[in-house]
């Protein structure tokens, strides 16, 4: 990994939400990770694990409680001039989860896709703007006749592709995909994932792929971070993570995924995660590198235990 360039650095990021008096929800509790240029970084976790909040905080939809997000050497959350902000908005884009909520029902597809073009003044004339829209529609596998229609006329998969076209309109480098396929039917999921892979190859995009569907995440990601209760508990190369999960939570998560293979399902042994196995009374756990590129959230004792167990 040494030769790879770090594109996004997330450093000690914290995001607390106030819910009523004195009650804070630690949606993200001190997470640190890097995303390399050109890779797909998968972030998995169950609902409430903070994975979506992480994505939204990185793109500044939320202001971080503390910590930094550094994009290409530049602090995303620091004070910014309007021009700097606009520049960041073009470089970092987002694809959303719900294809029914992510498109404004009162706008035509052309206006939705051209939104970024309009905001950033990327087209010099109306003709150029429409040409860009048509090109984008074709890129995501739709045709130009669709431009004048309204979102409710499209199926979930088509809408998701419109959402991708909207993000692509500003020629971003880094795309945060927040559960982009969770709301889609199985046959449509593959369409969207294939499209994302194709676009990555053609445009050299970097993805942060957030999902709870672990099989798809493994397929698309180079590296994966597993989140649980606002913290990253394990971070590794995706093959390595699936082959040798170390943290007990990861193990339980992996053992719970149902696979479309009846025989495997009949013999599946589910591992149950019991948070009381950790003894963190003496020290707070931190991410430690158990083997090269494979990080686990653990205490000093657990660290040596894991190291013994996983001598590769």
């Amino acid at each position: 990994m040494e030769n790879k360039k770090v594109l996004v650095e997330v450093k000690n990021l914290k995001q607390y939400f106030n819910v009523g008096k004195g009650n804070t929800v630690k949606a993200i509790d001190d997470i640190t990770f890097d995303i390399y240029k050109g890779e797909t970084f998968g972030l998995v976790g169950e609902s409430g694990s903070g994975k979506s909040t992480t994505g939204r905080t990185i793109i500044r939809l939320y202001d971080a409680t503390s910590g930094n997000v550094i994009y290409n050497g530049e602090d995303v959350h620091g004070k910014k001039s309007r021009a700097q902000l606009k520049d960041l908005n073009r470089k970092i884009q987002m694809i959303f989860q719900d294809p029914y909520a992510s498109l404004n029902p009162r706008m035509t597809v052309a206006d939705i896709i051209a939104e970024g073009i309009d905001i950033h003044g990327l087209a010099k004339s109306k003709e150029e703007r429409m040409k860009m829209v048509y090109d984008l529609l074709e890129t995501v596998g739709l045709n130009r006749e669709h431009a004048s229609r309204y979102p409710h006329e499209f199926s979930g998969g088509q809408r998701q592709r419109i959402g991708i076209a909207r993000a692509l309109a500003v020629q971003p480098e880094f795309i945060i995909a927040d559960e982009p396929i969770s709301a889609l039917d199985v046959s449509i999921q593959a369409q969207v994932v294939n499209l994302m892979k194709k676009l990555q190859k053609e445009k050299g995009l970097t993805y942060l792929f957030i999902a709870h569907d672990l099989s798809m995440v493994k397929y698309i990601s180079d590296r994966i971070g597993v989140m649980h209760r606002g913290r990253i508990v394990e971070l590794a190369n995706s093959d390595d993570l699936y082959a040798n999960p170390i943290h007990p939570y990861t193990k339980s998560l992996l053992s719970a995924i149902p696979l479309p293979d009846p025989n495997y399902e009949r013999n599946r042994k589910r591992v149950v995660y019991d948070p009381t196995v950790h003894d963190y009374s003496k020290e707070e756990p931190v991410l430690r590198e158990v083997k090269e590129g494979h990080w686990v959230l653990c205490s000093e004792d657990e660290f040596s235990k894991y190291k013994d167990e996983y001598k590769f």
């Binding site: 169950e46 609902s47 199926s155 039917d185 593959a190 294939n194 709870h212 149902p258």
Partner: protein
Amino acid sequence: MVKLLEVKDLYVSFFTHAGEVHAVRGVDFELKKGETLAIVGESGSGKSVTTKAVMGLIPKPSGLIKKGEILFEGKDLAKMKESELQNVRGKEIAMIFQDPMTSLNPTMTIGKQIMEGMIKHQKVSKDAALKKTIELLDLVGIPQPELRVKQYPHQFSGGMRQRVVIAMSLACNPKLLIADEPTTALDVTIQAQILELMKDIQKKTGVAIIFITHDLGVVANVADRVAVMYAGKIIETGTVDDVFYNPQHPYTWGLLASMPDMDSKGDELFSIAGTPPDLIAPPKGDAFAARNPFALKADFELQPPMFKVSNTHYASTWLLHPDAPEITPPDAVLKRRNLRTKAGENRGK
């Protein structure tokens, strides 16, 4: 085994301002006692509508069972009056919905909600009902059921709520349980628990289950038999091994091949292009033909009948006709055939 439910040539339509939506177009299936049938399909394939028809829950006047019989222990539910249906619903056939929060009344204790059906259908005393309720909560794995009966839905977590819903559905010892995407709203670890629970309950009570889902992993886990629906029709049906290891319909191929398995990487996923047809004007012939790279000319012209593959396995595609040309299915499907031989070997041991 005895047939519990038999659905014959079922047609259901909805009347919208845009026209008549042919949601279910000639569905046949049967269910034996104590068996789990999974109905798989995408949204809009008619899987939910089919089971709603069984429950007599097609909203009137916008929806209508146009044709067909729904024989439950020999009685035709499609011709029953609403008052008769109410005796079947909840008592003989129970239903579990996707969202546990909306199927529970937030202003009533869960104990009361479970007892309600029991007192209505079985005419038991309050004390007996309470005792049974506590037993049920215990059965579905809720700790300290004596205390929990007095609590309200919001005091339960998502997974626990779904357990309560399951307990509620079991209150009158139904013979058939219809579960409409019961785990879709849950996290994978909770989903695994609920699936285990349902299998466990089936073992203990012998209830037959119709399980509606779009998640093929879940199907492989729970089902004995599978029916794959597309555009209002069952296009393939068989035992879970038949369908997962020897799929015949190109749509089933597409579904199975579009899911990545744990060791495929980098290569493009097989995907089905396009979207399901608009059921206001269902296409003539095989509804899947336009999206089917293996389609024959016949698929565009004629509705393929159910061809028999084996005694348990049927599929509706012209590719199974003896005159049809040989076609090589996608790699992922070929791989599955090997998996089956492995599965056979394992069972042999």
